[in-house]
Amino acid sequence: MLKNLFPRLARFRFTVQIIMLFVTVYGGALLGSYTVDRISKALPSLSCAYDKMTGDHCILIVNQHQLHHRAGAALAKAGDVALNVFIPTLMSVGVFFLFFFFLNKAFCGWVCPLGTVQELLYKIGRRIGRPLNRFKQENVGKVRPVKWFMLLVLVLGLPTLAGMGTVANELGDPFCQVCPSRIATTLLTADTEQLAVRTGTGINFFLGALGNALFGFIIIAALAVRQPFCRICPLLSWNALFQKLSPMRLVKKDAHDKCAKCGVCEKACPMDIHEIGTSFGSKAFHEDCTLCGRCAEYCPDDDVIQLKFFGFKLFGSSRDYYKARVKFETPEGQPKKRVIPILRAKENA
């Protein structure tokens, strides 16, 4: 029955994404105002705490607050770093890991509301005939370190320094101030407050202006680039730290010599992970992988690429599936032109 409902993994994933978009953006309105004051408060995807209806929010705002209000303040007291200061941080990471353990980076590819919004924009871009701008193998490496910079500086560094009093207090949650998901998800609830730039201090204004410009850039770029923000998202790097600790993973068998020459899985990857075409074993599960499963969908060889949980195959590539899949969409996500049967009948007549 599940196969009838969801003949393609892409359709199943899209359904999950839309459900999760509603849970993460409107969950409070659907599940009750308090929703136990968010479900986990440590979701491994960019669900925004500034969204007044959200059902849950991402771990990054929690980490920034904890470093700002607890760890930073304790470090400033030089030696007064009591264990109980770090317990809340460990608790948050623990709750995060409870979720993460089961789905791994599928939180990026299946749950994240900003990821879904970018994918929807990319689909619109295909429909209106915009080009696809991909990162070549020699260029993609220049973008990848940015996500680590975002994590180390905006999520971990500046909040800690703000807590220590070394930098301005407004830098207590700098990532949230520039995160496009903050604006995207609140706009989806018809709330324009986060779109309005703060003018209270120079730092507030700078961060707000940067965040808005980034948001504007992302929503236009997403029409022609797949998942533009995901590539620099600190949650991608945060999740990458834990990806080897989850039993949910992507695996690729070293099938035959021609495998590395085919390259269809590379074209299908929305994160331009060229390594998926040339690497095998654990190396194929790259730090930028969001477990969307498109590479497995577009691999024309049986069971060469698989999504596995505790060693059990959840989905594996197959030639028959590949043949059916490419009838609907190219690996790059361009929908195939389909002739409506009634029009074909007219043409034949």
């Binding site: 409070g28 009750g32 105002s33 308090y34 929703t35 136990v36 004051d37 968010r38 440590a42 705490a49 007044k52 209000h69 607890r70 303040a73 304790a74 009591a82 109980n84 200061v85 809340p88 948050s92 871009g125 005939g129 915009r130 080009p131 696809l132 701008n133 991909r134 990162f135 070549k136 260029n139 703000a162 207090n169 407004e170 207590g172 949650d173 324009t192 407050e193 779109l195 309005a196 730039v197 703060r198 003018t199 209270g200 507030n204 202006a209 808005n212 410009a213 980034l214 948001f215 504007g216 850039f217 992302i218 929503i219 236009i220 770029a221 029409l223 022609a224 680039v225 074209k267 790059e332």
Partner: protein, 291 residues
């Protein structure tokens, strides 16, 4: 009783004179210092300690003579879910339950045929709190004002917003009843409850440059002002007066510019616009281009 009342007032004044509070700026838990700007009964949370680790909270009754504060945690099944906080010189210390979350606090004064109740909500931003709906729904006193809902974490009452409050007597909604609002900024307004006993309260925008304190919080929320809602009702020869107080902040768009926000968003859009142009070779071949 008068002596007790005097002690409470003295404690309130002492609390007000305590050095500036250091508070986490999650809106729902912010309370500003205030003078006795109303005659209505209030419960004022007072924070002590410079950081979260060393912070403690005391509840100060104002305009009400109460020997103790009653506290309800959001875990009603917990043995300590409903407890009495004994009064000390600086107020009644509020313990933080392991689950944190929302705490409903009330003080009750009975003088002759008059029953006065002060109530407020304090929020501990700890993980694992249970859904507080059952706690809010539980009948605690004869006449009650119940927030519907209370602002969540990262939210608060703010000027120019409408918030709903249920008024009930012995658990039943009081329809067509007058609810009075007073603020520490000097506003006064009246609202009526509807058929379900719910009053839609518009928080006034009564901040001015003198009342706005310059110190901004880390989430762009400023320390605000206080408001109190009150309702009175007579039944069986007794007069009931119940108040609910909390704090509120400035208008959501205060110190923000939507125009500039839109401007910077458009700037970012312009920056990405070249990506939308089809390259000639790519257009010819209808093949994806490369960045």
């Amino acid at each position: 009783m008068k002596i007790l009342y005097s002690i409470c007032l003295l404690a309130a004044c002492a609390g007000t004179a305590v050095a500036a509070e250091v508070q986490h700026d999650h809106g729902a838990m912010m309370h500003s210092q205030s003078k006795l700007w109303t005659q209505l009964p209030l419960l004022k949370p007072r924070m002590k300690g410079q950081d979260i680790a060393s912070r403690s909270v005391s509840i100060l009754p104002q305009n009400i003579a109460a020997a103790a504060i009653e506290a309800w945690s959001n875990d009603l099944h917990d043995a300590n879910g409903h407890r009495q906080l004994s009064m000390e010189m600086g107020g009644a210390p509020l313990d933080k339950p392991a689950t944190g979350g929302f705490q409903m606090l009330t003080a009750r004064e009975v003088q002759g045929d008059t029953v006065r109740v002060a109530s407020t909500v304090h929020y501990f931003g700890e993980r694992g709190g249970k859904n507080p709906t059952a706690m809010f729904d539980q009948v605690k006193h004869e006449l009650e004002i119940v927030p519907q809902p209370y602002p969540r974490e990262h939210s608060r009452y703010r000027a120019n917003e409408d918030w709903q409050f249920a008024v009930r007597f012995k658990g039943q909604p009081l329809a067509g009843h007058k609810v009075v609002l007073e603020t520490s900024n000097g506003s006064r307004a009246e609202f009526m409850t509807d058929a379900a006993g719910v009053a839609n309260v518009h928080v006034p925008d009564d901040f001015n440059t003198e009342t706005v304190q310059s110190k901004a919080g880390s989430h762009g929320m400023r320390r605000g002002a206080d408001f109190v809602l009150a309702v009175s009702h007579a039944d069986g020869g007794q007069q009931y007066l119940t108040a609910f107080n909390s704090s509120y902040g400035e208008d959501a768009y205060s110190n923000r510019s939507l125009t500039m926000g839109l401007g910077f968003m458009l700037l970012g859009m312009l920056g990405a616009a070249p990506l939308l142009r089809k390259r000639q070779a790519a257009a010819k071949n209808e093949e994806p281009s490369n960045a």
